[in-house]
């Protein structure tokens, strides 16, 4: 269970950190308005939103490592899967990334987050299966 927890924490760090260095804002790209001002592209908002997914995932990893009761592990696995789904949906559907496949947000950030999200869901389910098979400690 500790390995699962450690992997979730590592994935949470990937989800939180990688987008900050692969969005168009970090590459010096922005949308230029007619009045001369620039606004960030939508991949930047995806990168920011992923921090909001990464923080609870780190906590979730810690809880996975210490929780002993089946009920709490079930909740943790459910919450983990839900976060994993949102990690995937943010760059793919909810906010999105830039359309051009030449851009780093499209070729690196989106696939990294999709893969990380799938792995988070998978690990949450593995954690659930392991906890269901283990006998609950007596008080």
């Amino acid at each position: 269970m500790k390995i699962v927890a450690a992997l979730i924490v590592i994935l949470a760090l990937v989800i939180g950190i990688v987008p900050q260095f692969t969005d168009c804002q970090s590459q010096g790209r922005a949308i230029a308005l007619q009045n001369g001002k620039t606004v960030p592209m939508k991949c930047h908002w995806t990168a920011i939103s992923e921090i909001a997914m990464a923080v609870p995932l780190v906590g979730l990893g810690a809880v996975t490592a210490v929780s002993k009761r089946k009920e709490s592990r079930r909740i943790v696995a459910g919450f983990g899967s839900l976060l994993g789904v949102f990690v995937i949906l943010l760059p793919n559907t909810l906010i999105g990334v830039c359309a051009s496949s030449d851009m780093l947000c499209n070729s690196v950030m989106k696939p990294t987050l999709t893969l990380a999200g799938i792995l988070v869901i998978g690990l949450s389910l593995v954690g659930l299966v392991i906890s269901e098979r283990k006998a609950e400690p007596t008080a």
Partner: protein
């Protein structure tokens, strides 16, 4: 207790040892599948590209063959010019059925008059074209009108706009071709008339005008008559048309074929080393496990378990770990290759098309067999040695 249950209990009982074997199977299966996917993807992409071009011979200006090939394969915009009169000279060569001229153009990079940066544009002659016209007739039911274009699979109208703006000219995108995994996916196809119209408008509306030299073309696509020899025609072209290079279809993209072959060798070498190291590691782990479990196996033998049953139990353990690790490795390998395909194409500078589902399933099966055979083979010798041991000696040790 049956064999599988005994094997799973042994796996659960030695988490670290099982984890290492699982990881080895994961790496071997994942790496095998990714390598094969990349190579097959590149080959399939090249095949589709040749099919899409449909030409038996491509005639390009002398010294430009490499740039034209790069443009067609990787979508890297290029321009190359030769006299238009070459078309009629080539069309008159014996055996040539159709000679269709093309213009290779490039949009401006980071210019406000272009909504697509550095887009490769191919202008074709609708009267003679056999590359795009059949698709247009099949999908659109009509030829392209002035101001209309079709794009490769990855060409799109920018968000919030209705047309693609190139050189200050608004082009209506009428459809997208099927994916090929190569430069044609990022290419815009338009007619000669539209290209000339873009050039005319660009003189007043673009940051820099689109230059199309008078009476010039970039390449000629040649289709041979049935039974005619393309090689003979290519030799005739060299003799009768000055300053051009004819590239026969099998010779097309030769540089990339060599690159793919080189890549294949490199990947196979890495795969081979990984496979050998993994097998040695698995063999060592099983030898250690067999030694550690000498007493336990002695007890099992004393209780009536046959040598074959002991061998089967150990091999079942290896097979379960191989199948588990192999399955996870294959899923991860296929997912990673699929998700990062754009990055792979750009980094390795080679075309890539993800295989179809039936083809993928065949490769998945092959990957699982590799993992299963490898791990079982590595575990066979230690398992066989320990199964031969006499129970009394094993228990005493």
């Amino acid at each position: 207790m049956n064999l599988i249950r005994l094997a799973t209990k042994n796996i659960a009982g030695s988490a670290f040892r099982s984890g290492v074997v699982f990881l080895c199977a994961l790496v071997v299966a994942g790496l095998s599948l990714s390598t094969v996917l990349l190579i097959r993807g590149a080959q399939e992409s090249l095949r589709l590209a040749l099919e899409r071009l449909g030409a038996d011979v491509v005639v390009v200006p002398e010294g430009e063959s490499s740039r034209v090939e790069t443009a067609l394969l990787m979508g890297k915009p290029t321009t190359a010019w030769m006299p238009q009169e070459n078309v009629s000279k080539i069309a008159n060569i014996p055996g040539v059925a159709v000679a269709s001229p093309q213009l290779y153009l490039a949009s401006l990079a980071n210019a406000s008059c272009c909504s697509a940066s550095e887009l490769f544009m191919v202008a074709f002659d609708p009267k003679t074209d056999f590359t795009i016209e059949p698709w247009l007739k099949r999908k659109l039911g009509h030829e392209l009108r002035l101001g209309e274009a079709v794009g490769g699979h990855l060409v799109f109208v920018p968000e919030g706009e209705e047309n693609i703006k190139l050189y200050g000219y608004f082009i209506s995108l009428k459809g997208n071709l099927e994916p090929t995994g190569m430069g044609l996916d990022q290419t815009l196809f338009l007619t000669f008339d539209t290209a000339q119209d873009v050039a005319r408008i660009s003189r007043t509306r673009a940051e820099r005008p689109l230059e199309i030299p008078a009476n010039s073309i970039s390449a000629v696509m040649v289709k041979m008559k049935p039974g005619a020899d393309a090689h003979t025609a290519a030799l005739d072209i060299i003799q009768k048309v000055p300053n051009v290079t004819p590239i026969e279809s099998p010779e097309l993209f030769q540089a990339y074929r060599k690159q793919i072959t080189g890549l294949l060798r490199g990947m196979l070498a890495v795969l081979g080393i990984t496979l050998v190291l993994s097998l040695v590691l698995i063999s060592l782990i099983f030898s250690m496990a067999a030694n550690e479990r000498r007493r336990e196996i002695g007890v099992l033998r004393a209780l009536g378990a046959t040598r074959v049953a002991i061998l089967q139990s150990l091999l079942s353990e290896a097979a379960i770990l191989a199948l588990g690790g192999g399955a996870v490795g294959i899923v991860l390998g296929a997912l990673t290759t699929f998700l990062f395909r754009d990055l792979i194409v750009r980094s390795l500078e080679m075309p890539f098309l993800f295989p179809s589902l039936p083809s993928l399933l065949t490769l998945v099966g092959a990957g699982l067999i590799v993992a299963l055979a490898g791990v079982t083979l590595a575990a066979l010798l230690p398992a066989f040695r320990i199964s031969l041991q006499e129970p009394a000696i094993a228990m005493r040790e």
